[in-house]
């Protein structure tokens, strides 16, 4: 669903246009972004208010290509003199570098217009007391088991306004609003400590939308169960080493997609541009149509149009319209996450529209949109469990790590449910598993149906230097993997 609501300011548009006009005389290409970010974070800890942060920032980032090299400079605020100084600085740092031959940019029609992501209820207009009341009720629900020594409940909302202009005639603006939260219970007994989170760890679940996204989480309704599971885990049997069938759902499956497929198909990594930091990829640049990355059950799409996705937008941060790009079809590599420069370098017709920047003070880099595992035909989660003789079910992540080629990974969930004779049985603690990306996805023999498909959010995807944090979503339905190495940590 697209709407067209103007969120920008004539003064900002004029300033960016003037900057671009000035840059046109000195650079082969230039773009400028004005970005205003506003966020609100509330959290409770053991029933008391722990954090109440209200942040705002705005500024302009100018990116130029001069002499074949890129230069980027950022200045806070929207002052004309500061913005012009940023342009001069961007040109200076570009020219100071050793001479380079710039790759042409993949063609793209100039982005024009305005977009605002849907939000039923403005989260910044909701009284703070209302939010606190929801958090306190959830926190109280967590403090129901004696083994639980730390309880946390969180709310967060974020709004980003952007205006973008380029020397190719783009001038567009968009407003993206996000809202969500989560809770966690920590149980401690001697040397043992366990945590359970809902609906996801690492900050909870956030979606593009309004306050309704937060209320829909029903934190208070889930709190007693989460508390009980945390306490139970303290004395639950530990996951033992061996090979077994694994069913992944929710956040854990989303993170599996994110780390082993999403990052692996970022074209800057594939082309070696991130070798010094984020790393490279096991995926070769010429792998489209031939590289098998999973079983025939595995179909992955990068889709910047998913309602509610944190990787959804009308235009990326170099003015390319967001769209759906096939990444894996029937287990075979079908595409990449790309920018105009990397797409052109590979000979692709068009950028995948994946350039995103963390605020005004970072330049756009290749990032994930919503990288989704398409639904299969295995029915509901309960039907999938019923068809599984023995195994483990993991849905919430505790720890993750993968090598710099995105090949060997090791994850540990907060908890696992033992599956025996087609039934979900007891909780097990410390469920770790490991594998090699293509081998692991080749073991996928079932993906649940569309009725089970949903988005999960990851709020802290780090990449780039200076460091950038991206917020992304991944859609999936529960999936089953045979013969996975577990109990590795």
């Amino acid at each position: 669903m697209r709407s067209r609501v103007s969120v920008a300011w004539p003064r900002v548009r004029d300033l960016l246009q003037d900057l671009i006009d000035a840059a046109d005389h000195h650079a082969e290409y230039a773009d400028a972004r004005f970005v205003r970010c506003r966020s609100e974070r509330l959290s409770t800890r053991n029933g008391g208010l722990d954090q109440l942060d209200l942040d705002e920032s705005e500024g302009i980032g100018v990116r130029v290509r001069a002499g074949g090299s890129w230069g980027f400079a950022a200045a806070r605020g929207g002052d004309r003199a500061d913005a012009e100084a940023a342009l001069s600085r961007a040109l200076a740092v570009a020219r100071a570098q050793p001479a380079a031959t710039g790759t042409p940019l993949a063609p793209e029609p100039p982005a024009r217009g305005a977009y605002e992501s849907p939000a039923e209820r403005d989260p910044f207009a909701v009284p703070r007391e209302d939010k606190l009341a929801v958090l306190r009720a959830a926190d109280a629900g967590l403090r129901t088991h004696p083994g639980v020594t730390l309880t946390l409940a969180r709310f967060q909302a974020r709004r980003v306004d952007k205006v973008f202009a380029s020397t190719e005639g783009a001038l567009c603006e968009q407003r993206l609003t996000e809202c969500g939260g989560g809770l966690a219970a920590v149980a401690v007994d001697g040397d043992e400590s366990q945590i359970r989170s809902f609906p996801a760890s690492h900050g909870g679940h956030v979606a593009q939308g309004g306050y309704e996204r937060f209320l829909a989480l029903d934190l208070a309704g889930n709190a007693p169960r989460v508390s009980e599971e945390a306490a139970t885990l303290l004395h639950a049997p530990a996951c033992t080493a061996g090979r077994t069938t694994l069913i992944l759902t929710g956040e854990q499956l989303g993170l599996q997609i994110h780390e082993s497929i999403g990052h692996a198909v970022e074209l800057d990594r594939v082309l070696g541009r991130e070798a010094s930091y984020a790393g490279t990829s096991f995926v070769p640049a010429d792998g489209i149509g031939s590289l098998r990355v999973g079983s025939g059950q595995v179909n992955v799409t990068a889709d910047a149009t998913n309602p509610g996705g944190l990787g959804s937008y009308r235009w990326d941060d170099e003015g390319v319209e967001g769209r759906a790009v096939p990444i894996v079809r029937d287990g075979v590599l079908a595409g990449f996450l790309s920018s105009r420069e990397t797409a052109a370098e590979l000979g692709l017709q068009r950028s995948g529209g994946c350039m995103r920047a963390d605020g005004f003070a970072r330049q756009p880099i290749v990032r994930m949109t919503n990288v989704n595992l398409e639904p299969g035909a295995a029915g509901t989660l309960e039907e999938l469990i019923a068809g599984t003789a023995d195994g483990l079910l993991i849905d919430t992540n505790r720890s993750w790590s993968i090598d710099d080629r995105r090949l060997h990974f090791q994850f540990e969930g907060e908890a696992a449910w033992e599956i025996r004779d087609g039934e979900r049985r007891r909780l097990m603690r410390n469920p770790s598993y490991a594998g090699l990306t293509p081998e692991f996805w080749a073991r996928c023999d079932a993906v649940c149906s569309a009725s089970e498909w949903g988005l999960v959010s990851l709020l802290d995807c780090g990449k780039g230097e200076p460091g950038q944090v991206a917020r992304v979503s991944h859609g999936s339905a529960p999936a089953r993997f045979r013969g996975v190495q577990v109990g590795v940590a």
Binding site: D53, S57, W70, A73, A74, V93, A96, A100
Partner: protein, 441 residues
């Protein structure tokens, strides 16, 4: 910040920004608001947001935050600022890249990496007073990739760009490239040699092996120890790895760890985000746990005093973190001496994608990267397929047998968000029985 890949520049970034963080105290609660606008209207609006936040918090419950300290006139941290670095001359970085590219080209390898400098002014003001300091930092990293795909790494962190010796690195590297001892080489020249490697790739099955870790690998472990064991909030809440263990032997007697914020070997800092003056803090002495880091909130919870480790006024939700950790060196004269007693083991240049698995056990997992070798009969013999390390940090420190006398300021340069440069000073070490759970890609 300049980035480069395959011997050509890829990104160049210049940022000028300000953060004003206003913290209001009401009824034991802190409400915070930030802005990057400095005009009167924006600052007043920011103050109103902070006050509103604090009042909303105070209305919800009684808080326990003890209040802000009166900023004391702490002496400036010597060595924290360099006027030449503060000029942020773009030509300095451009020249560094040219030198690195030339060295890599001569060595027949691709150069990838980063070169960056920054200048920061930081001040804490309360209704009772104010304190401020001006700092600079510099960081360079070179990863060379040989035609066969093997990579080598070297990096340096300093308060001043001159500490990177960027202009002289190429000459040093060229001169050292033919020398045999690993520890004698520097940055690009060293990375080029490591990348070339020698012989074929060896593989090791999962299991426990003696290791030699360069300072970069040790620094990452020590930094994660700060998160899992030295965090005063986790400690006070019983989640920390040292809860109920202060005074106990938690590492080998050779392990001496302190936070030394005024040491010129670190990135020196005079005060923390609450205005509490920083001072030396012993953490592990002769292997015995002696303390953890506190901000004012965690200190109040623990019945202790702030040690000057607040990351945010009022206390970061994740707790305080030591930012000037120094692991004392030992008696080993170099990496060769560390390798000498090992019959069959693993040489690790650096660790990558480290993440905490179970904080109370200080259990982490990470993969080796950019220079992993097999040690046989006391010397490095062959490049080794990268490995996944999954082990407890305190367990590794308990099995530490020797440390080099030489220390290095290490950092991953991962200065996320507002630039927050910090690092760990540490030596290389040898430890027995380190656990590897698989081969990496």
């Amino acid at each position: 910040m300049l980035r480069f890949a395959a011997g050509r520049p890829t990104q160049a970034t210049a940022i000028d920004d300000v953060t004003v963080e206003l913290a209001a105290l009401r009824g034991g609660h802190v409400g915070r608001a930030t802005t990057n606008a400095l005009d009167d209207e924006a600052l007043a609006a920011c103050a109103r947001r902070a006050e509103a936040a604090a009042e909303a918090a105070a209305a919800s419950s009684d808080g326990s935050y003890p209040g802000f300290p009166i900023p004391a006139a702490a002496p400036p941290a010597e060595g924290a600022f360099d006027a030449d670095t503060a000029r942020l001359d773009p030509e300095l970085g451009g020249g560094a890249l040219r030198q690195i590219f030339a060295v890599a080209a001569d060595a027949g390898v691709e150069a990838h990496g980063t070169w960056t400098v920054a200048e920061q002014e930081r001040a804490v003001a309360t209704t009772e007073g104010a304190i401020g300091e001006r700092t600079t930092d510099a960081y360079a990293k070179v990863i060379c990739i040989a035609p066969g795909g093997r990579s080598g790494y070297a990096a340096a962190t300093a308060s001043a760009a001159g500490g990177l010796d960027a202009a002289g690195l190429a000459a040093t590297a060229a001169r050292k490239a033919s020398e045999s001892s690993l520890e004698a080489e520097a940055l690009a020249g060293r990375a080029a040699r490591v990348a070339r490697g020698a012989g074929r790739l060896a593989e090791l099955a999962p299991g426990e092996y003696p290791v030699v870790m360069e300072a970069h690998a040790v620094g990452l472990l020590i930094d994660l120890l700060g998160e899992t064991a030295l965090n005063g909030l986790a400690h006070a809440e019983g989640r920390g790895a040292l809860a109920d263990r202060l005074g106990e032997q938690v590492a080998a007697p050779a392990i001496n760890l302190a936070d030394s914020p005024r040491s010129r070997a670190t990135l020196p800092r005079a005060f923390d985000a609450e205005g509490t003056p920083k001072r030396p803090l012993p953490l592990i002495q002769d292997g015995v746990a002696t303390g953890v880091a506190h901000d004012r909130r965690s200190a109040a919870l623990a019945g202790a005093e702030s040690t000057g480790h607040a990351l945010t006024p009022g206390g970061d939700p994740h707790g305080p973190h030591p930012t000037n950790l120094v692991l004392a060196g030992g008696g080993a004269r170099g990496l060769d001496e560390l390798c000498a007693p090992i019959e069959r083991g693993v040489y690790i240049t650096r660790l990558w994608y480290a993440n905490v698995v179970r904080p109370k056990e200080t259990l982490i997992t990470a993969v080796t990267r950019d220079g992993t070798f097999l040690i046989e009969d006391g010397r490095i013999t062959r490049p080794l397929r990268d490995l996944r390390l999954t082990d407890g940090i305190l367990r590794i420190l308990s099995r530490t047998q020797a440390l080099t006398a030489e220390q290095q300021l290490t950092s991953d340069g991962e200065f996320y968000g507002r630039r927050f440069a910090y690092g760990v000073v540490c030596p290389a070490l040898r430890a027995s029985g380190v656990r590897f759970t698989g081969a990496a890609g």
